[in-house]
Amino acid sequence: MEANSVKSDVSPEKPYRHYKSNKIRVKRLTKPSLIVRLTLGILILLTVYSFITIDYESVDLLGGIAATITNFKTMFFAPHFSNFTFLQGLYAVMITMGLALLTTVFGAVIALFLGLWSAENLSSGRISNGIKGFVAIIRAVPTVLWVLIFAVSAGLGSVAAIIGMTFHSMGYLVKAYSESFEELDKGVIEALRASGANWWQIVVQAVIPSSLTYLVSWTFLRFEINFAVAIAMGAAAGAGGIGYDMFMASSYYYDLNEIGTITYYILAFAILLEIIATRIKSNLHASQT
């Protein structure tokens, strides 16, 4: 029995008593609870260590926090337009949206094929593992580095940003898609195979229709992420759009009020996307039950 498995500190005839104090033990360490504590302990230690070793570079922490609060007030309560108009701002958001959309679409198309080939139930073990390893490495490289790497040959701008972001989206979606495909009931594939259907027929007739809701929701989730990434690429890799405007306002004009305006633009669209994503997700749950 499990109660007797830790023999060293438990007397056999009274398995629930502590061997020394003869007290009844309520808590008992199991492997999962040990790992939970170990993980939390390590994280706390590393956090404390990082606060001790952090290079504060004579930055006044409390002063900085106070300044941040004042800055928030300036941003959110006194936003203004100085370097662009309302419509130009909207246009910039549209560019960012466009970047997110294109990279999601390109990534999704490529990921659909790679996802099929990397799903264990639709592919051979070697190909599946090969693709999974390949996309794990692609995912491990931060998007901004992909963009900058492509920028060397394509030049800084939307082309490099789109290729770089597509790369990372693809890596993300291949994982999501293949996991959705793998959840498919084995019997369905077997039944179709028994009826003489070939691989493509199985994919088109059974695999894609039954995992379509998952695919749609993962893709939209990636679109939501890509909107945020597109802002970042505008700021850090010259991809244009609202992120670039924000970078200019922050690093060249030092215009907090305008940053406030841009933040409102970003918030409005990001929250809109989140609401749509939540809708899609709840529809997904509803269709499952």
Binding site: L43, T47, L61, I95, L102, V144, G240, T263
Partner: protein, 245 residues
């Protein structure tokens, strides 16, 4: 389908993306990568400095995630429909989380540059804010899924609110929450690279430095160290998840 293509085409015009140029640039990029983007002997002299920066970045990412998790825990307990104290607090904590989550980490970095300048703290707080918003939402979902049943049972025994939270809700949701924290750390290491480029700190700054000096060999070594550390972290998190979930 037609509409979809039209929208995509519109997006191409908006972003001034030249599809032909874009896709033809991929082969040349790969060719360039093979001939230039690999660590050369001289790059390895920089390895200690790179690893030092990498460690700084990883520590910042972890610290931001754990502290954010502590705040997120409180906000999610108030925000979840299972454990909320009252509706006003619930709506408020959900609202605050939405605000912090939906401003991108790069945007936070640019905002915080005003108060903390080019320092690690800027990056730290940018990561912290986004993590806080993200984890609050994730934790609320975890708490909602735990369900009301054991909460009801403990209430019926006469247990007080703090007891119910700490003895029933938290033990049931700890593994899921740890899984989210580990996921957040992975995301934060990648985001920290980006934030580092914007704020001139950590591994992002190292990459930017070698990249701008056209020292692609060393820049590739930076990428390699990031990839290795993320893959190791992913492996460790998967192990922890397998055991505890």
């Amino acid at each position: 389908m037609l509409l979809f293509c039209a929208v995509s085409y519109g997006a191409m015009i908006f972003t001034q993306f030249n599809a032909v140029k874009g896709f033809t640039s991929i082969p040349s990029a790969i060719q360039w990568g093979i001939s230039n983007f690999y660590p050369a002997a001289h790059s390895f002299e920089k390895l200690p400095a790179i690893l030092n920066k990498l460690l700084e970045t990883i520590l910042t990412a972890i610290a931001a995630s754990t502290i954010a998790a502590v705040f997120a825990l409180f906000f999610s307990v108030f925000g979840s429909k299972i454990t909320k104290v009252n509706n006003i607090l619930s709506i408020m904590s959900r609202g605050v989380a939405t605000l912090f989550r939906n401003i991108d980490v790069a945007a936070w970095a640019l905002i915080l540059l005003f108060s903390f300048g080019q320092s690690v703290l800027t990056g730290y707080f940018a990561l912290f804010f986004v993590s806080f918003g993200f984890l609050t939402r994730a934790f609320i979902e975890v708490l909602d899924e735990v369900g009301e049943s054991s909460v009801e049972a403990l209430k019926a025994t006469g247990a007080s609110y703090p007891m119910i939270i700490l003895k029933s809700v938290i033990p049931s949701s700890t593994p899921q929450m740890i899984s989210w924290i580990l996921f957040m750390i992975e995301i934060n290491i990648r985001s920290a690279t980006l934030v580092g480029i914007l704020t001139g700190t950590g591994i992002g700054f190292s990459f930017d430095l070698y990249y701008k000096n056209l020292d692609y060999n060393t820049a590739s070594l930076v990428v390699l160290t990031i990839v290795v550390s993320i893959l190791i972290l992913e492996y460790l998190s998967n192990y922890v998840r397998r055991v505890i979930l």
